[in-house]
């Protein structure tokens, strides 16, 4: 009952507190634990039997003692208070303001777990978002309502890329209300600062809602941060009809917090100690992206995760890739060669691209052009492998032409300035220019009609470097 505290707990084990079952609590109910110094912590009921309950705390357990703890049951799940006033504000992971301004005035409390969207109420996302980045627009198109993560590694420029996307993203078919929701989990203060500065410089800071659970705040808080953030996003998208772009970083920190709690509950782990339900848990976040019937707004998700040891088959990127609608993969090798953005040509993918491009959306040649670029670039990679063994001189003439193409493709098409904003036409034309390096008979993925129309003829084929 609210306002009534029960004295004492039975056991404290990592983030899990076991207490006597003295009030008829609900599953997943929010509780507040006060310690001897008078400090409060929030937690959630995760198991109830007739005698005892288990509470998972959202913060450190230091200072919790068996005798000198008091528990209060708040008779609701963890909620976030929504209202017009949230835009432009900064909250902690639990949704409490940390920017020094007054609390949100609103009686509208939302369960942060949200509810699954009824699949028959979804609207299939089709609207092309121009990011001004050729590697994305041309090859891995972002669509409004998509969940498209950035798979990165330590030291790679994922933050700069995310900031560039936020800065340049626009929908070609007219203006509309937009907002940005930023969830920072376990990131350092300077990363948060980088984003705030970058939002400020591009003049969007007043449209940003920030949820920060920085590296120095309790790791368990990271488990609720994205949920609180997505609750805010759902409110803005589905009730205020805004187009919301949600940046969530770093999902790896989130998953590690999940593993920590799972271990504390003695659950049977699956791969690398992560719980068997990591997939379902991540899905409960990522599936909150999309569009629904009868509503203008949308939620587009741009989660960022660092692949431990650059390993894409690690459970975190792996399960993410199984849920999201594609992935933008950053490649260390490209980055070391000075190519920004170092977006890997082959493992990157946008699954919603297929229905958002082409005549009437981008341009009629987009799909075939992209397919041809992918297949040519894939061949370049195999030629490079061969060249590494037999030497470049030994390659056939055809293969040498492909090597040249690969070089131009990486340096001119993939690479661009951090502040360079290319229109979709520029991107596509550049793609054709790259293809003009290859003999026309190699372009079997493109119908002759489009080759006729778009392939620049005047250009001298640059065969060799």
């Amino acid at each position: 009952m609210r306002g009534l505290e029960y004295h004492g707990i039975l056991r404290a084990d990592g983030p899990i507190v076991i207490a006597e079952h003295r009030e008829n609590v609900g599953f997943s109910e929010l509780v507040r634990v006060r310690d001897r110094s008078g400090e409060y912590r929030l937690g959630r009921v995760v198991d109830i039997s007739e005698q005892a309950i288990a509470v998972q705390l959202f913060s450190e357990n230091t200072g919790i003692s068996i005798d000198e703890s008091w528990i209060e049951y708040l008779e609701k799940p963890l909620t976030f208070r929504v209202g017009d006033g949230i835009v432009g504000r900064i909250f902690n992971g639990l949704g409490e303001p940390i920017d020094g301004y007054p609390p949100i005035i609103s009686s509208d409390l939302r369960d942060t777990n949200g509810r699954p969207i009824n699949p028959s109420a979804r609207v299939y996302p089709r609207d092309f978002i121009q990011t001004g980045i050729s590697a994305i627009d041309g090859m891995n198109t972002l669509i409004r309502g998509q969940k498209l993560p950035i798979f990165s590694g330590n030291g790679l420029p994922h933050n700069r890329l995310a900031a560039q996307i936020v800065r340049q993203a626009k929908v070609l078919s007219g203006e509309s209300q937009f907002a940005i929701v930023f969830a920072g989990m376990g990131i350092k203060y300077d990363v948060a600062r980088f984003f705030i500065d970058s939002f400020e410089k591009s003049g969007v800071l007043s449209r940003v809602v920030m949820f920060l659970s920085l590296a120095d705040s309790p790791s368990i808080e990271r488990l609720v941060t994205p949920r609180t953030a997505l609750t805010a996003a759902e409110y803005l998208a589905y009730e205020k009809n805004m187009h919301v772009l949600v940046v969530m970083t770093d999902m790896t920190n989130y998953c590690e917090a999940l593993r920590e709690v799972s271990a504390a509950r003695n659950e049977v782990p699956s791969r690398k100690g992560y719980p068997g339900y990591l997939y379902s848990d991540l899905a409960s976040l990522y599936e909150r992206a999309g569009k629904i019937e009868g509503c203008e707004g949308s939620i587009t998700q741009l989660p960022i995760l660092s692949m431990p040891n650059d390993d894409i088959s690690h459970p975190i990127p792996d399960l993410t890739g199984y849920i999201t609608e594609g992935q933008i993969v950053l490649e260390r090798d490209l980055s070391q060669r000075g190519i920004y953005p170092p977006i890997a040509g082959l493992p990157s993918l946008s699954r919603l691209m297929k229905d958002g491009i082409g005549e009437g959306m981008t341009r009629e040649d987009h799909r075939d052009l992209a397919a041809q670029l992918f297949s040519a670039y894939a061949y370049v990679r195999s030629v490079r492998d061969l060249a590494a063994i037999i030497g470049e001189e030994e390659l056939s003439d055809r293969d040498k032409i492909f090597l040249g193409f690969g070089d131009h493709f990486e340096r001119e098409f993939l690479a661009q300035g951090e502040f360079e904003n290319r229109s979709i036409e520029q991107t596509l034309d550049l793609g054709w220019k790259m293809l003009s390096i290859l003999p026309e008979s190699e372009l079997v993925r493109i119908p002759p009609r489009l080759i006729e129309k778009y392939l620049p003829r005047a250009a001298e084929p640059e065969a060799k470097e």
């Binding site: 609900g26 007739e50 699954p116 969207i117 979804r122 609207v123």
Partner: protein, 588 residues
């Protein structure tokens, strides 16, 4: 009805006391909200229950009511074109109740109770009834006639009354037995029990999918079972969508089991606009969707597979060929694992319960070509996607699945990265149905088997040569061997690769499949001869006809396959020309 009380809540698993007379796998209504659950363990009067809905704020002491029947699906006219969640709740109806977001505790009739169907009796009063007796038909869609056949649970008797031809709602009594039992157009069947049939048959008929790499290299039979394993983004869903659209089954049951919501929406928005080439009707008129997406309750995900397969068996029992797509069986296995973990069972490999292989076997065993109780022929074909962690096929779900299926369409990461779709690897895939299907193809196109084995042979040779090339480069090979590489390239680009986005090529009728192969292999044969006669490979590879062959898949429409014969003539002409110029060069 017996009433019990919740004693423990641990996520979607709860424990209840006081259900002594309940049976294992009985359906229960849990808590004040009346959430649907199923008893999965009984010990004395302590029942372990899995709940199919979100149970936030549920409390110990809340009531549990046992319905004393196993979890069942409602079977009757109106299933076609529907979309259900894992426990057969109609999603559009739920949308009407709670809006765009699913709330716990909702209920909806699986079949439209108001709609009137035109019933034509096939039974006369006084005639005997027994399992397998047809008692009437209803035209469910333009192409699907709903045959109402008494199932195995119906006791033998005689028909006391039979409703005359006319329009009835599904609740109307159509037949009354001598004992006074009433039968409507709807029957119920427990999802975990396979439906009864007379006997299984050996399957010798192909399920034509329209995907060349499958139909020619790794064909599947009607009533067969196949697995599509592959890492994320390699094309499992696209392959299943393509088969669901174009295969020659009568009915498709598509189970979205723990996958993306948008993929279901895609089917819902796209299928109604596509025309089934065989019936001329919209594809939605042969499709049933089960959507329990990754963010919907995990226990319902576990059941969704059974809900889908039971509906498939129901139409099989009317004498239809049904194809079931299950995307993804790995998510189903993970649901098992999650529930097993909650039950604190002893895990076997990677946390999966020890009974995982048994469950997989039971599921795939429900595929088959059967003689129905009514003595007709019907089949259920199962095509299950497998999502191995890290794309590594040595993990338990892929390995155990392999034991129970006979068709393995392995998706390859490198092919997918190079955007070679479908990324079905010709090295790692196999089909054990090929032998059984040769007789069928022989009767239609005697060249099928030869073309197929020649293609396989060239691909096999190419694999060996590619290993050499990787070490020394292609220049070290003689022209005959480099021709193998060239032909293999043509097979890959002009035959195996088939984009789902190509309006002409997204599905390919069998005559066109063999024609494309015949073109490539004719080219190969003539090129072999030309090389023997001294023509350099470079000249052969730059023949314009080569590009034309590669593009033929996209330029030749299915309806105009006959015109393709001319291409074979053109190939011969091109080589004849080459022969004379080569000859000329020698004599000069």
């Amino acid at each position: 009805m017996s009433a019990g009380e919740i004693t423990r809540i641990s996520g979607p698993v709860i424990y209840a006391q006081g259900l002594a007379d309940a049976g294992l796998y009985d359906v229960v209504k849990v808590g004040k909200a009346g959430l649907i659950g199923e008893i999965i363990k009984l010990k004395g009067d302590l029942a372990t229950i899995q709940i199919y809905e979100d149970n936030t704020m549920m409390r110990v002491g809340e009531p549990v009511e046992c319905l004393h029947r196993p979890l069942s699906v409602a079977l009757g006219p109106g299933l076609i074109g529907s979309i259900y969640d894992g426990i057969q709740r109609p999603l559009p109806v739920l949308k009407g109740l709670s809006g765009a977001f699913l709330a716990p505790g909702l209920a909806g009739e699986p079949l439209d109770t108001r709609k009137k169907w035109h019933f034509v009796p096939s039974l006369k009063e006084g005639e005997p009834i027994a399992p397998g007796t047809l008692f009437g038909t209803i035209q469910e869609t333009d192409s699907i006639q709903h045959r109402m056949v008494f199932d195995a649970s119906v006791p033998a008797s005689t028909a006391a009354t039979v409703a005359p031809e006319g329009d009835y709602a599904i609740s109307a009594t159509l037949v009354k037995s001598g004992e006074g039992k009433e039968y409507t157009a709807v029957s119920y069947w427990p999802v975990r029990t396979p439906r009864t049939f007379k006997e299984k048959q050996v399957t010798r008929e192909p399920l034509v999918t329209g995907l060349r790499v499958i139909d020619v290299l790794f064909p599947i039979a009607k009533g067969g079972s196949a697995a599509v394993p592959g890492g994320f983004g390699t094309g499992k869903t696209m392959t299943q969508h393509a088969i669901a659209k174009w295969c020659d089954a009568d009915i498709i049951v598509y189970i979205g089991c723990g996958e993306r919501g948008n993929e279901m929406t895609e089917v819902l928005t796209e299928f109604p606009t596509l025309i089934d080439p065989r019936t001329g009707r919209s594809l939605m008129e042969r499709t049933i969707l089960i959507a329990n997406t990754s963010n919907m309750p995990v226990a319902a995900r576990e059941v969704s597979i059974y809900t889908g397969i039971t509906i498939a068996e129901y139409y099989r029992d009317m004498g239809y060929h049904v194809a079931v797509m299950a995307d993804s069986t790995s998510r189903w296995a993970e649901a098992l694992r999650e529930l097993s973990g909650r039950l604190e069972e002893m895990p076997a490999e990677e946390g999966f319960p020890a009974y995982l292989p048994t469950r997989l076997a039971e599921f795939y065993e429900r595929a088959g070509m059967v003689t129905t109780l009514e003595d007709r022929k019907g089949s259920v074909t199962i095509i299950g996607a497998v999502s191995p962690p890290g794309g590594d096929f040595s993990e338990p779900v892929t390995q155990h699945t392999k034991r129970f299926i006979r068709c393995f369409w392995a998706l390859d990461r490198d092919l997918a990265n190079a955007r070679h779709y479908p990324a079905i690897s010709w090295n790692d895939s196999y089909s054990e149905y090929t032998e059984d299907l040769i007789a069928h193809w022989d009767a239609i196109d005697p060249s099928w088997d030869t073309l197929r084995s020649k293609t396989m042979e060239i691909l096999k040779k190419e694999r060996r040569l590619a290993d050499i090339v990787r070490l020394v480069g292609p220049d070290a090979l003689p022209d005959e061997q480099r021709l193998i590489l060239l032909t293999a390239e043509m097979i890959k680009n002009g035959f195996l690769q088939q984009s789902s986005f190509d309006k002409v090529d997204m599905y390919c009728v069998p005559p066109k499949q063999t024609l494309l192969l015949a073109c490539i292999l004719t080219f190969h044969e003539l090129a072999e001869n030309a090389i023997k006669n001294g023509s350099p490979l470079l000249k052969i590879s730059s023949l314009p006809i080569r590009e034309k062959i590669i593009r033929l898949k996209s330029s030749l429409e299915n309806e105009k396959v006959q015109e393709g014969q001319a291409v074979i003539q053109e190939i011969r002409a091109a080589f004849a020309q080459l022969g004379t110029t080569a000859q000329g060069a020698v004599s000069a």
